[in-house]
Amino acid sequence: MTGVQGPSAATGAVVGMVLGTQDVTPVSFWFAVQPGASIQLDDLVVVGTRKPDGAEVRFYGIVDHVRTRHEGVTFDSDVQDVVAGLLPASVSYAARVLVTRVHPENFIPPQPGDAVRHARDADLRMALSADKMGDRAFPGGLLADGQVLPLNYRFVNGENGGHINISGISGVATKTSYALFLLHSIFRSGVMGASASAGRALIFNVKGEDLLFLDQANRDVAAREADAQAQKGLPRTRYELMNLPAEAFRDVQFLAPPRPGSAAGAIVPHVEQRASGVTPFLYSLREFCLRRMLPYVFVDRDASVNLGFVIGSIEDRLYRLAQGADTPYLTVEDWQPDTEQLIDEDVRFDELGGVRISTFPQLVAYLEYKLLDANDGEGDRKWVGKQSPATLQAFIRRLRGVQKHLTPLVRGDLSAAQAAQYRPDPLKPGVQTTVVDIHTLSATAQMFVVGVLLRDLFEHKERVGRQDTVFVVLDELNKYAPRDGDSPIKDVLLDIAERGRSLGIILIGAQQTASEVERRIVSNAAIRVVGRLDLAEAERPEYRFLPQSFRARAGILQPGTMLVSQPDVPNPVLVNYPFPAWATRKDEVDDLRGQKVEDVGDDWLR
């Protein structure tokens, strides 16, 4: 018996022998591929070598380089003589292995001549450290040879590590698709155990209305998966291989901002393609003040230091102003608006002589009055503080700039019931996945919504603790947390990245270029995924976790293929993942719900 625990004998077919003409090291070696064997990049292999005392050491690794050449010839032009049948030469077919694991941990080199085998079954589990993961492994995709890549859930849910970061060129890397596939896998593989129902997802839809059909089956999935199965020669479909249902997401709520300009009575979601099942979301003016949302209106907080002070003090003023009542609107008594200057004309003078502020423009007008107009242009001294008029003007000017974008989202012209009904709540009972559609919003309004929702979520989790893991899917991280500059949204994202994992908030972030995202956010991600990259981008230090050969290859990855790096496996692994089982466009929705056309027709006629 060998000294190796675990698999007692390597089971895969012998594919070659370790070469003696290149250095053999415990971390990397070349092997000569046997005639008849075919080795491609990303194949996982195992080599056993014996120490002088007879104990066996196994090296598990991934093929990161393959090459062929004519052996025994000297000149490049000899290839013509070889092909003409004059010059005997053999084709040398060799592959380089990056070792991912040595077991037991004796870092001796393998010996030239040691047999190299395909890693299968128990060896594959060792190669990918699945034995360490136990029942906390969930499928992260399929390897090149059709075997399942296990991901360690402990490195996702915050137990050992957390967060997932995905980089890649838009459209080719299909970052969102892979993020959704991972969510599907986490929710449906059973890795969350008894608390499966407790896992939640908050997904921001930033592009088109692609994610508004997550709860609908995809009519193309069966055909596309059958195609892929045939093409790759897999024994079963990719979903079956990973033991995942080919089903749409369950318990999904869709939130969308209200259509601008709609009257108080008819708040309708601003979506084009989906007719039903989308709930509009908005905030009441009072919430805006009470829950200190003002800072999230300002994207570039550090434009000037003084502006930061103004925002802070006004935020505080508004908070005090909103105390004491629970109407969605605010009431003030020290303001006589000049009705001619107002865009909205429904300012009512009632409620004990007070003025009701029921729209965002009115709030801005009130602030302008308090800061600039009151006291014959001196402003209300309590509000103004010691700030210079120029700073105050800058503050008002910025508010005016975003006023149009926030008017539909922050409203006082609602009933209290409406305000409660339309308040966005990703933790609503019965809902597992919340999709917040922000693609129709302007950049400022998007930042506002993302910032406020994440801040609320973070504060909630700070109170209740880490049970109920919430996965936040956010594309274009570089926009919300750019490397340079400072903003309240970036603060929230940094909080989530650095402390979120212990609170059960997991960020599944994506961006085109990791080099443009705040370093602390990317570096906190335990699992890093790379799709197709621009080759110049791939050379940046953010991608040092990719060996050089993988960086070169990142430039030619096809959609549906990702390089996945996780802490348990020191080298990234190339995976492909199945076609979404949920519709990603309106025309993919399976209207017939899997039935045949005739059957549906029969139902209608009956």
């Binding site: 010839v73 003589d81 049948g85 010996q111």
Partner: protein
């Protein structure tokens, strides 16, 4: 008045004698094909010739030794290796050339009448395999006897391989005519007796001018692929007889000796002096076409074009199969030290 002219011997200076140190030939030469002394142009290679083998051999002395046997007898000897091998190729170029039987044999040559056991050199490292030397008694005791033994073993192995691979050549006119389907090209002159195979020896180096002065001029005039008529050659004393002809493989460059690129080919002659076996004529006819195709180029091989492309590859493979001489002698030393010494040395 004619100007002085200097032309190059095509072969590198470190090859002893060069290509063109022409000695006179003392034997006899007879026309067997035609009395008309003129160039014969190359003919296409017949379809039914399917296999051409290029055979060569190499030997290497690895260590000279002094042996004392258990009975108190002693004598000289040596560890040596030889290898013979072949390249199999299709003369029509329809498949890739392959190396055949290139495997080193190792001999422990020893003075006669000694009791010698095979020497097994076990590796210090399990990944490097064993070296096994089979005992082979030498003839005589002179210092070169070990090398000669090695050479004899190599030559007879080469001879056997050449003839095993080739088609049979009929010995006289009553023989059933056999088709030429497999031809062996052996490097160098033919040795020993006729084993009756279609084996053609390629003599790269022109050291002896067999042709009389009035015929030698044709060699300079041959065009690439053309050959001379076949001649029957008998060495002085009538010891060996061969059928020989000359072929030009490539145009001589203006700066080279006009006979460079010309090669002498020979085949075994049957005992019947008037009989020219049809196979020999076939081989002569196709030799121009075949050899010009197999000829090497100057930038790849200093002995181009005569050192044929497959021969060069074979030489390389044979060298490799004998292993690094330095490593082998080191292992012999370590073996001696481990087996007979006080302690192991490297």
């Amino acid at each position: 008045m004619a100007r002085m002219r200097i032309r190059l011997d095509p072969w590198p200076v470190d090859i002893q004698g060069g290509q063109l140190t022409l000695k006179a030939f003392g034997g006899t030469l007879d026309d067997v094909e035609t009395p008309r002394w003129a160039a014969i142009s190359a003919r296409p290679i017949p379809e039914r010739l399917k296999q051409v083998f290029v055979v060569d051999g190499k030997r290497r002395m690895e260590s000279r030794i002094f042996i004392e046997d258990p009975h108190g007898q002693s004598g000289l000897g040596g560890f040596g290796a030889y290898v013979v091998g072949a390249v199999e190729l299709c003369p029509h170029g329809t498949r890739q050339a392959e190396l055949l039987a290139v495997k080193a044999q190792r001999l422990l040559a020893h003075a006669p009448n000694l009791l010698v056991e095979p020497a097994q050199l076990t590796p210090r490292n399990p990944h490097t395999g064993q070296l096994e030397y089979a005992p082979a008694p030498m003839e005589g005791h002179d210092p070169l006897a070990a090398l000669n033994t090695l050479q004899q073993h190599m030559l007879s192995a080469e001879q056997r391989l050449s003839h095993e691979l080739a088609s049979r050549v009929p010995l006289d006119e009553t023989d059933d005519r056999e088709w030429l389907t497999a031809l062996t090209i052996q490097d160098g002159t033919l040795r020993g007796q006729n084993l009756n195979g279609a084996v053609v020896g390629c003599v790269k180096t022109m050291e002896t001018m067999y042709l009389p002065a009035d015929r030698a001029g044709l060699l300079s005039d041959l065009k690439p692929g053309e050959r001379t008529p076949i001649l029957r050659m008998t060495y002085e004393g009538g010891q060996f007889t061969r059928l020989i002809w000359y072929v030009r493989l490539s145009e001589a460059a203006f700066y080279q000796h006009p006979m460079s690129g010309v090669m002498r080919l020979e085949m075994f002659a049957p005992d019947d002096t008037d009989f020219l076996p049809p196979i020999v004529r076939q081989v002569a006819n196709l030799s121009g076409m075949l050899l010009t195709r197999m000829g090497s180029r100057a930038h790849k091989d200093p002995r181009a074009p005569q050192n044929l492309i497959p021969t060069a590859a074979l030489e390389q493979a044979m060298n490799r199969s004998m292993g690094s001489a330095d490593l082998v002698t080191r292992r012999i030393r370590a073996h001696i030290a481990a087996t007979f010494g006080q302690g192991a040395v490297a």
